[in-house]
């Protein structure tokens, strides 16, 4: 058995970089240090279907075809479509995303990633108010007040707490004991059970609570006995804890981006962090879900000027989330073909978007059987980045890390598949 050290985990945006993979006969058979979710990704589970050949849906059944046929078919679908949507991108590496952007421009598609259904509102808020961000290393070494707002890392980012909030750091020698942890969540979540302060707000009241906290921060009296279901004294006490920080960090997640107000909740939360800098050093980091969802937003921005929901229909990138978002295009029945890569909208889009996916040709570049492949007309299986292919991914704090190739694979990588589709699409367009 061979041990491969310092492997970066291809699951969540924490991008744990200390995984050790146990390899036997060119297969990952075990891991050290990974959480239960990361481990499940590295190690094949008996019974789970892994596609090894491209598949084409014919009369309701999938039949095997060659890679060459699959590439031709995919290019044809994209070139023939009037309003193709290319969605996903968050479970692959940056150079594949770069080729994807070129392909989107070539076929005049709308290109969008999973931020659409996670931190899209955060991106909109960053446009409005800025991005006072730091690195996770700074959190570990400096942060003495840690806020988790609308996120539950105990479940969604299982090693986030141990690596950054419980860990000993340069200025936090005792680790957890040197930090105050504040959780804001309407549920008594497993993360809130570990907190020093739990602000259990009424759901859909994030904006009101931030507003009251900002008022207290500015020295105004809170005029109501309670706001968002939280007594005035508790709000004032929490604000005092924030003001006393030496280095504060706000982590925030879907509890605030998915709730009423969406990007406006994030607007006001970012402004609170900016205002807190009058009292202490304060920063924020969005709790990104897919391991390279941030990478796509970086690549998309440096290629087109916008982070997601980019429409190449006119040949010039255009950006209007709410019109050019995947859910908008699908629910409005505007998209007439869809390519899905490195994500699973079949599992994570609402029912009304899936009704359209059932009606239009769907290409799935996907290694496993998923709800998306159940909706696909064409399945092209790639090698899995971080295990069978290498590349760069951006951690939730914007630090790029190199994903390793741990074992060999006969399958083409995402990048190779996209390059071949791009080449074919260029050929088809030239012959028109």
């Amino acid at each position: 058995m061979e041990l491969v050290n310092n492997v970066v985990c291809p699951f969540c945006g924490t991008l744990c970089d200390d995984i050790i993979c146990k390899v036997e006969n060119d297969e990952i058979v075990g891991t050290y240090n990974a959480c239960i979710i990361g481990h499940s990704k590295f190690v094949h589970t008996e019974g789970a279907m892994r596609y090894k050949k491209p598949l084409l849906r014919k009369n309701g059944e999938f039949v095997e075809i060659s890679y060459e046929e699959a590439i031709d078919k995919a290019a044809q679908i994209l070139v023939d479509a009037k309003r193709p949507l290319m969605y996903g991108w968050s479970c692959t590496e940056c150079s594949a995303q770069e080729v994807g952007m070129e392909l989107a421009e070539e076929v005049r598609a709308v290109v969008d990633n999973t931020a659409s259904v996670c931190h899209g509102p955060s991106l909109l808020a960053v446009h409005d108010t800025g991005y006072p961000v730091c690195t996770l290393g700074e959190v570990k070494n400096r942060a003495d007040v840690v806020v988790y707002w609308g996120c539950n890392p105990f479940h969604a980012h299982p090693r986030h707490l141990s690596r950054h909030s419980y860990a000993r750091g340069f200025f936090r020698e005792r680790g957890r004991a040197d930090r105050t942890i504040i959780v804001v969540d309407p549920r008594k979540s497993d993360t809130s059970k570990l907190a020093d302060i739990h602000l259990q707000l009424d759901y859909n009241n994030d904006y009101e609570l931030v507003d009251a906290m900002r008022a207290a921060l500015k020295g105004h009296e809170i005029l109501y006995e309670e706001v968002a279901g939280i007594p005035r004294d508790d709000i004032v006490g929490a604000v005092e804890a924030l003001k006393k920080a030496q280095f504060g960090i706000l982590f925030f997640g879907m509890g605030i981006t998915h709730s009423l107000g969406k990007h406006r909740n994030i607007d006001t939360a970012i402004m609170m962090v900016q205002e807190l800098n009058q009292f202490a050093k304060w920063t924020l980091i969005p709790m990104r879900g897919h391991y390279n969802v941030n990478g796509f937003n970086q690549v998309c921005t440096w290629e087109s000027g916008y982070p997601f929901c980019v429409d190449f229909a006119t040949g010039t990138p255009r950006y209007n989330p709410g019109e050019t978002g995947s859910n908008d295009l699908l629910q409005n029945k505007e998209a007439d073909a869809m390519m899905v890569i490195a994500s699973d909208p079949g599992a994570h889009f609402p029912q009304n978007a899936l009704h359209t996916m059932a009606e239009i040709p769907v290409i799935a570049i996907e290694p496993h059987r998923t709800p998306t492949t159940e909706m696909a007309n064409l399945i092209i299986p790639p090698a899995i980045v971080g295990m069978e292919a290498e590349g760069t991914a951006y951690r939730m704090d914007g630090v790029p890390l190199r994903m390793k190739k741990v074992v060999e694979s006969d399958l083409l990588s995402d990048k190779e598949i996209l390059e071949k589709i791009l080449e074919k699409a260029q050929e088809l367009k030239a012959s028109k």
Partner: protein
């Protein structure tokens, strides 16, 4: 009974999506609704019984389980996945983002079966 629906991650749902979405593990982790003991008593059901969730844009049958993360009154929690997404609010309010949390839904006890993932996806009629 009208309740508030929250959807989101659990570590077991995460484990299941990475192990295989075609496995029983996924059904056990995501085709469930976390419900308080009080609400189950009110509905006259026990953990392990099925409930039907109905929303304006769809419905779904899931299994009721006792929540270990205490929920606000009148709230249920369904892990993210194709079952939950039958009943979320698809509206994006011009932000590109559907509403996955805090959705009013109707729940009733049912004898209908929980569908496995491939059968559930057939509801959409892909041919």
């Amino acid at each position: 009974m009208i309740v508030n629906l929250i959807t989101g991650r659990t570590v077991w749902q995460g484990q299941a999506i990475e192990s295989g979405k075609d496995l029983q593990m996924y059904i056990n982790a995501a085709a469930i609704a976390h419900i308080s003991d009080e609400m189950m008593a009110q509905m006259g059901i026990k953990p392990g019984q099925n409930i039907k969730i109905t929303a304006p844009d769809g419905d779904v049958v899931v299994k009721a389980v006792a929540t270990k993360e205490t929920l606000p009154v009148d709230t249920i929690y369904v892990p993210m996945g194709p079952w939950a997404n039958r009943v979320v609010d698809p509206t994006t309010n011009s932000t590109a983002m559907p509403s996955y949390k805090n959705i009013p839904v109707d729940i009733i006890p049912t004898d209908e079966e929980v569908l496995d993932m491939p059968t559930l996806m057939k509801v959409y009629g892909k041919v």
